[in-house]
Symmetry: C2
Amino acid sequence: MIQSETFLNFIHSAPGITPQEEVQILDSFKYITLNNKEFFLREGQICKQIAYVNKGCFSYFQLLANGKKSIIHFAFEDWWISDLESFLNRKVAATFLQALEPSELICIGRDEFEKWMTNSEAFRSCFALKTQRAYIKALERTGKDKSESAEEKYLRMLKEYPQIIQRVPNYDIAAYLGITPESLSRIRRKLAGDGNILPNVNIR
Amino acid sequence: MIQSETFLNFIHSAPGITPQEEVQILDSFKYITLNNKEFFLREGQICKQIAYVNKGCFSYFQLLANGKKSIIHFAFEDWWISDLESFLNRKVAATFLQALEPSELICIGRDEFEKWMTNSEAFRSCFALKTQRAYIKALERTGKDKSESAEEKYLRMLKEYPQIIQRVPNYDIAAYLGITPESLSRIRRKLAGDGNILPNVNIR
């Protein structure tokens, strides 16, 4: 029985959902918990679930041909995680989804997801709207990522993910910014020297 | 009367579309032509149309606070263009859409678009599927953009957009890669020196 208030509100907000549908849809979701560093998905697997982050945080990343780890995004509470291409098209994933803290997810499997995508207009709309918003955000980030300096990216990241410094290891922040951990330290020293007020840094 | 075969096929492929719906939906689209360098959308305007590129090519870009031009993506034939956030939410656009050649678009305005999104399940599915695919592609690119060297990005760009060298000016290719035109020339010289077979470069 799902009790997460934010999750229940999200399902309740699906356009035109009926009370009966709501109960049945909620019944398709299950809790799972992951330990710190545990993987929700590894490269080479087929992603069989899509999940709501109820507690904890995740990094969604790729290992590139050049050997580098590239973090596409982080996901904190109230985000959804999955490798959509793998999940929707039953393709082998090229990405990893890893917990960065002990985490709790609310998941739906592929068959149940497909059932509601076929049978519920409210569920379909809800998913389409979520994807649309995520796409708009992804394009916004793309434009900035290409032309900002590492320092500008760092400052934008602090605005976008205010809790990131407290919750994400430094090497993952560097992999998200596409810089080395040494460059990250340099940026922090420079910004501190410039008299910027920065959040407390909790080195992990 | 729309005669573009690829466009007609696209509408025809909408899941569950009826022949009657198809005729009515097609009737909502109109041709427009743009000259080389003409804008389909400028920052500060509200994007009032979504368009299929029937002929020509476009750059979708932002001017960032640091004064740099950042090209989010190019669009060639059989792509769709719009600033989705501006179009769907009637917000002032933060982006530009500019023709890089004399171009022909097949457009639908906001009211007609909304009418079909409300009244046609086939149209809704078609749009949702298109957005979903675009989102998956955007995330794929994000991962690579962050961790690849400029040279790796350049080689990937040639695979993704094989016609780009012939059709897009050098300074726009540089803005897409997030590097200076000088760095772009250096990469080309290096790759030519490495004995790579590169497409003919037509400097514009």
